[in-house]
């Protein structure tokens, strides 16, 4: 039954990848998450199993009563009941965090049917509310999540302190409990060797830069996530405004870097795009890392209008489908790492043969 739900999820397009958004050539997606906890309950790391269940039920009831996430017609996954590969699917679709899927006991995931909003129940905090949208539109994402948070707050008693704001399990999130981030594709800054200085500059502004799936996944496919670090002493709209300003500058710098490459080293740029396409179109074994890097090259070509048989949404979909759990789910069986490389190459060939 639960696995059927994952199949249903798999069959539908991921809205943040399938829909178009502003500045989508460089900004892939915008996300905000809010950390919330309930008054009178310990944080999940200190809670008894029955308390975890109680919190799951309270949050589900609040979502159902408020109609948030389209509940009760939303997806609801009790994580401990899902096989590992299904949990990995949820991670790859950016609906759940690594920490969440690795500690499934007593936790539940609510997902709106279009996957644009979700709530992780009993992650580090009792509620991690998330809204994800294509392109660069943090303002819109903030409006959506703010409304969602209000709906839930009408049915839940949040742990809140006048001085410290929303109380979270880790003091790095206290205050607004808000983490806003934008996923950027920055091959131009990487190829012109400006990325290190850029990241250094961003860090000085109290913003964090990470790889595609958070820490430890540096620079795969030239994808970078930029997010706020400070959560206390700033308003939510202030956080969104500061981050947006930096993102706008980064988009401008990336565009300038691409123009610079076109003007000064066109052959290298075209060679990179062409080789990337060639490997994806003709290889028979592809590791995840190589595929991501080639897809990055292909994406640059698509942005430049070099291909008439591939559009940005196909590339985005490939970015998702080449990951291990998606490959295995689509194949309908468990695949070894070596088998995955073969299946991944076959998938990429077929996508580009269309």
């Amino acid at each position: 039954m639960k696995s059927d739900a994952v199949k249903r999820l798999l069959a539908s397009p991921v809205s943040f990848l399938a829909d178009s958004g502003p500045d989508e050539d460089i900004a892939i997606s915008s996300r905000i998450r809010l950390a919330r906890n309930l008054r009178g309950y310990p944080f999940p790391c200190a809670a008894e199993p029955e308390q975890l269940t109680e919190v799951c039920d309270l949050v589900s009831a609040a979502a159902n009563a408020s109609g948030s996430l389209g509940c009760p017609d939303c997806f609801s996954f009790d994580m401990a009941e899902l096989p590992v590969v299904d949990r990995e699917i949820l991670l790859e679709r950016r609906l759940a965090s690594r920490d969440f899927i690795d500690h499934p006991e007593g936790s539940r995931l609510l997902v709106r049917s279009d996957e644009s909003c979700s709530i992780m129940i009993n992650e580090e905090d009792q509620l991690r509310i998330q809204v994800l949208a294509p392109g660069f539109q943090l303002d819109k994402v903030w409006k959506t999540i703010n409304a969602l948070d209000d709906e839930l707050a009408a049915h839940l008693d949040y742990a809140f302190d006048d001085q410290l704001g929303y109380l979270t399990c880790c003091p790095t999130n206290v205050g607004t409990g808000m983490r806003a981030s934008v996923m950027l594709h920055l091959p131009g800054l990487v190829m012109t060797n400006k990325i290190t200085a850029t990241i250094h500059g961003i860090n000085k502004l109290n913003l964090a830069v990470r790889g595609i799936f958070g820490e430890g996944s540096d620079n795969q496919g030239n994808l970078f996530q930029v997010s706020n670090q400070v959560t206390l002493g700033e308003t939510e709209s202030g956080i969104v405004e500061n981050l947006s300003q930096v993102i706008r500058q980064l988009i401008t710098h990336e565009k300038a870097a691409r123009v610079q490459l076109l003007e000064r080293d066109q052959a290298s740029l075209l060679d990179h795009v062409g080789r990337s396409y060639g490997i994806l179109r003709h290889s028979y074994k592809l590791s995840s890392k190589e595929a991501l890097n080639c897809l990055s090259g292909l994406r640059v070509g698509v942005d430049m209008g070099l291909f008439n048989n591939v559009d940005i949404h196909r590339v985005n979909e490939m970015f998702l489908t080449i990951h291990p759990a998606h490959l295995q789910k689509n194949a309908g069986r468990t695949l070894s790492s070596a088998e995955r490389d073969v299946v991944r190459a076959a998938y990429c060939r077929s996508q580009l043969a269309k």
């Binding site: 008054r39 302190d161 964090a208």
Partner: protein
Amino acid sequence: MLCDRCKKKEATIHVKKVSNGKVESLHLCADCAREKEEQGVLGALGFNLAEVLFNIGEMAKPHAEEDSSPDEKKSDPGITCPACGWNMEKLQSSHGRLGCPECYRTFSAIIGEALNRIQRGEMHIGKRPDKTDPLLNAAALRIEITRTRKKLAELVRREEYEKAAVCRDKLNALNDKLKSLEPRGEVSDEK
């Protein structure tokens, strides 16, 4: 100061630890601190995120002489949260996490220090679950006024006059609000 580990990012987390009478210092950026913690490296070195956040390592050592005048509340290993039962030892082993909302009150002294290091202020000025205006609080309002004034100066410097005009109106509205909260007018420095 650059991070000791990656040598690239600005170090925002500074740890001092006393062992065998020697002071070890470690300066890390937030990402490296988190990574080290995840790999258990900080633990192996005798550091962990809880120590980084709360400086518990130093506080727990009565012989630590370096820059320490820990007040009694902070160095008392016996503090236990009445709601969840967590103590200093538990905080230390919990990767910087707290046990429950009440822990913020129980361990307020050390959490206050941690917040000073990792956050921009000590006062929440964002939204509230009861939807009341967060700027009805004079302290929060002052913070917002200071920030808006800085922003206005920046916009004027950049000659973005349309945005500056909007910002000026916002600043005036905030000042009016503060005056209404404090009728005796402690807003003399607002110009």
